[in-house]
Amino acid sequence: MDLDEIEILLVEDNPTDAELTIRALKKKNLTNNLVWVKDGAEALEFLYATGSYSKRNIEGIPKLILLDLRMPKVDGLEVLQIIKKDERTKKIPVVILTSSKEDKDIVESYKLGVNSYVSKPVEFDEFTEAVSTLGLYWMLLNKPPE
């Protein structure tokens, strides 16, 4: 996989949630250029080509970032804040995909400029439906600025 032409960046610390998400996206053929990172720190390293990703071309930004909220090291909201503040990455659509339905998380996320906030359903069919729908929307239906 060419790390410079990534379409989806999945930031998710829980491996089972990640596997279910990738499986749902795969059903709609959206996983050809998907990278999964396990925490906020790694996500930032990837996006800004630092640390273990320093060989990556920073110009190659993903088309969609799926972001979990509660993660070790660097929290989802911190990542969101950094992404939306940096000129190079603020245009990337960020969809928060989280178990939390708490108002304060939703309010805070939108304050920081998130593009969409989706609460992960517990039930498998609902979950698959939600993820594939949002994947199709942001990758195909939605027109990014170019």
């Binding site: 089972t16 178990s99 939390s100 498998f124």
Partner: protein, 370 residues
């Protein structure tokens, strides 16, 4: 300054005790320096020496000292001022030669001062104890706020962390069925579906517990509520998300005072119950009405569904208590608990009546004034 002259028995006793002590002490000192000689205390004693028959100035001072001793530390202020005033008036009398009047005046003022000291003492002690109580209340309040914050964090943890493994259990059971379809027989699929069914129940329980805790924690914003409009709104939403046949009968409802979001939750729960517990195949008929009470309004939500046995009416609002089996009607038994908790927060009452196969009516009261 508090001017509340309601005196109860205990207070009266204390005042009498204070008065007696002051009178005793004052007369003792009066007796001593009147009969046993002149005791020069201050420059005031020269005045005394000229007029030994007046109640001594020492008496006044002894009043002040007594009140200071009677643990009312701040009381010296008012009677001291009064005493100085009275001494001044007495001096005036003496200066202008109204000796007899000044004697009577002294005696009357003497008694008057004692009584005032007693009252003032009592009042000031009351103020002090009230401010002590206030301090205690503030401490309790901050303790409660801390407890609430802990509950908040706990509820958040429940909502977030418990759902993750639940999602994994459900998801991977399904993946098992999907990917290994040809290796699983009917029995295998049935077993896995039982696993999935139970994760769903657990998810619902978690949501219910969260809602219950949120209902107890959230701050209430009281406003006047148009109950009729609210009921109609709730009914409209339920009708959209429900494919059962249903009908609403609502006469004009009295407005009430409460937190709009919480009252809406009550109506959602009650109307959902009415819809849920209809006899299979029949149309759900819901009737909502209100009656004016003294300082509260009584509302009722009535249906003609399967009702319940009045024998178990005490369990109606119990947490996770159900009066029907899961096969008959789904649910976790938390809906009415939530209703009860919300009504309690509003200071109202809630109760229910029902008949097996004869429908059920839930009554609740809400304040009709602030």
């Amino acid at each position: 300054m508090l001017v509340n002259f309601k005196i109860n028995l205990q207070e009266r006793g204390r005042i009498v005790a204070i008065v007696l002590t002051l009178v005793l002490f004052s007369f003792l000192t009066y007796y001593f320096q009147f009969h046993l000689g002149k005791i020069p205390i201050s420059s005031l004693s020269s005045l005394y020496l000229q007029n030994p028959s007046h109640p001594s100035y020492l008496s006044y001072i002894s009043i002040i000292l007594t009140s200071v001793w009677w643990k009312k530390k701040r009381i010296w202020f008012a009677p001291a001022f009064l005493t100085i005033l009275l001494i001044f008036i007495q001096l005036l009398f003496v200066t202008f030669g109204f000796k007899r009047y000044s004697d009577y005046f002294s005696l009357v003022m003497f008694i008057f001062v004692i009584v005032i000291v007693a009252f003032l003492g009592e009042r000031i002690e009351k103020v002090k104890s009230l401010s002590d109580l206030n301090e205690k209340l503030d401490k309790e309040k901050s303790k409660l706020e801390d407890a609430n914050k802990e509950l908040d964090a706990f509820a958040y943890s429940v909502s977030h962390d418990l759902r993750v493994p639940l999602r994994a259990i459900d998801g991977f059971s399904r993946i098992l069925i999907e990917d290994y379809e040809n290796k699983l027989d009917e029995e295998g699929k049935r077993l896995i579906n039982i696993v999935r069914g139970n994760t769903m129940k657990m998810g619902q329980l978690i949501d219910d517990i969260l809602q219950l805790s949120r209902v107890g924690r959230q701050e209430m914003r009281i406003s006047e509520i148009n109950m009729e409009a609210l009921v109609k709104n709730v009914y409209k939403e339920l009708k959209l998300s429900n494919n059962k046949n249903m009908q609403l009968k609502v006469e004009s409802l009295l407005p009430a005072y409460g937190d709009r979001i919480l009252i809406q939750q009550i109506l959602i729960n009650l109307l959902s119950n009415s819809i849920k517990f209809t006899k299979p195949g029949e149309t759900a008929v819901i009737e909502v009405g209100s009656k004016q009470g003294h300082d509260e309004n009584i509302y009722y939500v009535m249906d003609r569904g399967v009702g319940f046995n009045m024998e178990y009416v005490n369990k109606l609002f119990g947490l996770f208590q159900r009066l029907h089996s899961q096969e008959e009607f789904e649910g976790t038994g938390v809906g009415l608990s939530i209703v009860q908790r919300i009504i309690k927060r509003h200071g109202g009452r809630v109760w229910g009546e029902g008949k097996v196969d004869g429908g059920a009516t839930i009554y609740f009261t809400l304040p009709n004034e602030l």
